[in-house]
């Protein structure tokens, strides 16, 4: 497994852990909140029922009124059992239960809810037939009698709501994981690709340098051979330096470029030293930007132009830097890819294959534009357009 794949896997697993644990916590909190609210509601309701029932009990024809009262609550999923000390007055409980075995059921009542209730109230959760009920047993005193009230509330709705929430959140998590996982994979692979290329590209000059050094060390060479080998080493070290410079430039990519004052004369003097055969006409004085990046940009464009062959000519004036060469013509398809900064196919790449992409990135960071033109009559011209704010 490659290093970037390992990094990807670690990042993705971390993401999954954070995502899932936070969603789990959120769901648990939401449920607890629902549950407490349900209990608070129930306790309040039981109190009001208890109050009403004691009033009804004292009225004439109370049996009929209590029946109607209980029926009305039953329709809303609330079941009641009323009794006085002698007889049962009403019973709409959906399950049969003896008052005694209720003590065995789970009790988990939030303190905030209990504090609301009268001290004679006993709250518990009861499970029967796969359904969960909230049970409150209380008593109240009417003018004549002590009334025993069993209040039972169907809790199924909040459990169903929770189940639906879990399903939908799981679905969202899954989709999000797939989406983020894919994006992350593409992003990390994209970052890694130039690194792969660079590693390969570093090997070529390294092979030459090492090889010629061994050649000098081992061989019985004439002065001419030795000069040739040393010359190769010097040249390949220059290539190596260019690649390292590109790497450095890549490290600075991203965001908007700085507005440092760059003396263009200085830059072009350096370029002239590196590439003695090019012709430079410079009327630009100062560019506001990132010096390392601008140097890397020009270095890349010039070395590409030199590789293409022919005479290389640079004209810098107003807000444009033009790099012309009379070498081989770039075909239309490749030109299109170059202008749009699309990736080139393997056959189209001559060199590392990340130079032009880097140039586009640098120009974009300076809010400029990079264009490529090529024809048999005029040769190839690469133009860096800089915005007014940069010159």
């Amino acid at each position: 497994m490659k290093l970037w794949e390992k990094n990807y896997l670690i990042t993705f697993i971390l993401f999954l852990i954070v995502l899932n644990s936070s969603v789990f916590l959120l769901l648990a909190l939401v449920f607890q909140n629902d549950f407490e609210r349900e209990i608070k509601t129930a306790v309040r309701e039981e109190e009001s029922i208890s109050y009403t029932v004691t009033r009804l009990y004292d009225l004439p024809n109370m049996q009929g009124k209590l029946d109607a009262f209980c029926k009305q609550y039953e329709r809303n999923g609330i079941y009641l059992k009323l009794s006085d000390s002698h007889t049962e007055l009403a019973d709409t409980l959906p399950i049969t239960m003896a008052g005694t075995n209720l003590s065995s059921t789970t009790v988990s009542i939030p303190t905030s809810a209990v504090s609301l209730s009268a001290d004679s109230i006993d709250v518990s959760i009861h499970e029967a037939g796969g359904k969960k009920y909230l049970l409150i047993m209380g008593n109240d005193v009417s003018e004549q009698e002590i009334l025993y009230i069993v209040y039972m509330r169907d809790l199924q709705s909040i459990y169903i709501a929770q189940r639906n929430r879990i399903i939908s959140y799981a679905l969202i998590c899954l989709l999000l994981s797939v989406f983020v996982g894919t994006m992350l994979y593409i992003a990390m692979k994209k970052i890694n690709k130039p690194i792969d290329n660079i590693a390969h590209e570093l090997r070529t000059p390294l092979t030459s340098i090492r090889g010629y050094a061994q050649y000098i060390l081992a061989g019985n060479l004439t002065e001419e051979d030795r000069y040739f080998a040393v010359h190769q080493i010097v040249e390949e070290s220059q290539n190596l330096k260019e690649i390292v410079d590109k790497l450095l430039a890549m490290g600075r990519l991203g965001g908007e470029a700085a507005y440092d004052k760059i003396q263009m004369n200085e830059i072009f003097t350096e370029m002239r030293k590196l590439y003695p055969n090019i012709e430079i006409i410079n009327e630009m004085r100062v560019v506001l930007g990132d010096k390392t990046l601008i140097k890397s940009l020009l270095g890349n464009l010039i070395s590409n132009a030199e590789r293409a062959g022919g005479q290389v000519k640079i004209t810098a004036k107003e807000n444009r830097i033009e790099i012309q060469n009379s070498g081989s013509v770039i075909d239309v398809g490749k030109l299109k890819s170059l202008n749009r900064n699309l990736s080139l196919s393997k056959e189209q790449i001559d060199g590392t294959g990340f130079g032009v992409g880097l140039c586009h990135d640098i120009v974009r960071m300076h809010k400029g534009k990079l264009t490529f033109q090529s024809s048999a009559e005029t040769g190839t011209t690469v133009t860096v357009h800089l915005p007014e704010s940069r010159v």
């Binding site: 390969h200 090997r203 070529t204 390294l206 092979t207 030459s208 090492r210 090889g211 010629y212 061994q214 050649y215 060390l217 081992a218 061989g219 019985n220 051979d225 080998a229 190769q232 040249e235 390949e236």
Partner: protein, 215 residues
């Protein structure tokens, strides 16, 4: 000596390999693209091909199929296991990864040539005749008596002629890697070789390195 075709688009590396091969006495042809390589292989007698995989036109895997079974060694920057396996399964004799060691490259070339019996076994140096297969050395036509170590030492020098070899390398070659002799052992045996074979001028001492047989 063998005729070796170098297929490498990077000019400086192509030249480097050529110089390395010429140093030990091989002939070489230089090709900078796959098609060029194929056309040279058709016209010339080529004993061995050193083939890069990343080439401007065809890739190395395509080139090898059109080389008619000429022994081939890949020399490439591609170090993926999958590429190596693909290369070797595709009929290559060996797979060398850049950056390579010149001496290693030459040794691997020698091994492949030996496998195909294209390695030179008889060397004539002036009035000296060395037959590596027969284990015999003749000076002016008459047999010279050499100890086993002396012969092995001579063999390494001859096979790597014109290259400076370190004392350590010579020690390994003639006495085996396990032998715990010191550099002086080599010096003593080189002295004897020089004397017995009249090679005082040809076996040069390379300052701070070792010895070189110059021809």
């Amino acid at each position: 000596m063998a005729n070796i075709l170098i297929v490498e688009d990077e000019k400086s590396i192509n030249e480097l390999i050529k110089r390395g091969l010429n140093m030990v006495g091989h002939n070489s042809f230089q090709a900078y693209s796959g098609l060029e390589a194929i056309s040279i292989a058709e016209k010339q007698r080529v004993d061995l091909v050193l083939l890069d995989i990343n080439l401007p036109d065809l890739d190395g895997f395509q080139v090898i199929r059109r080389l008619d079974g000429i022994p081939t060694i890949y020399v490439t920057a591609r170090d993926d296991i999958s590429d190596r396996i693909k290369g070797l399964k595709g009929g290559a004799e060996d797979y060398i990864i850049k950056p390579f060691d010149m001496e290693e490259l030459l040794t691997r070339v020698q091994v492949v040539l030996r496998r195909f019996r294209k390695e030179q076994t008889v060397f004539v140096l002036g009035n000296l005749e060395i037959d590596l297969k027969q284990h015999s050395v003749k000076l002016n036509g008459s047999e010279v008596d050499l100890t086993n170590q002396e012969f092995e030492l001579l063999k390494v020098l001859v096979l790597n002629k014109n290259m400076a070899l370190s004392r350590n390398r010579l020690l390994d070659a003639a006495w085996g890697a396990d032998y715990e002799g010191d550099d002086r052992t080599v010096d003593v045996h080189i002295q004897r070789l020089r004397k017995k074979l009249r090679l005082e001028d040809q076996i040069k001492t390379v300052f701070k390195v070792g010895y070189r047989l110059e021809l």
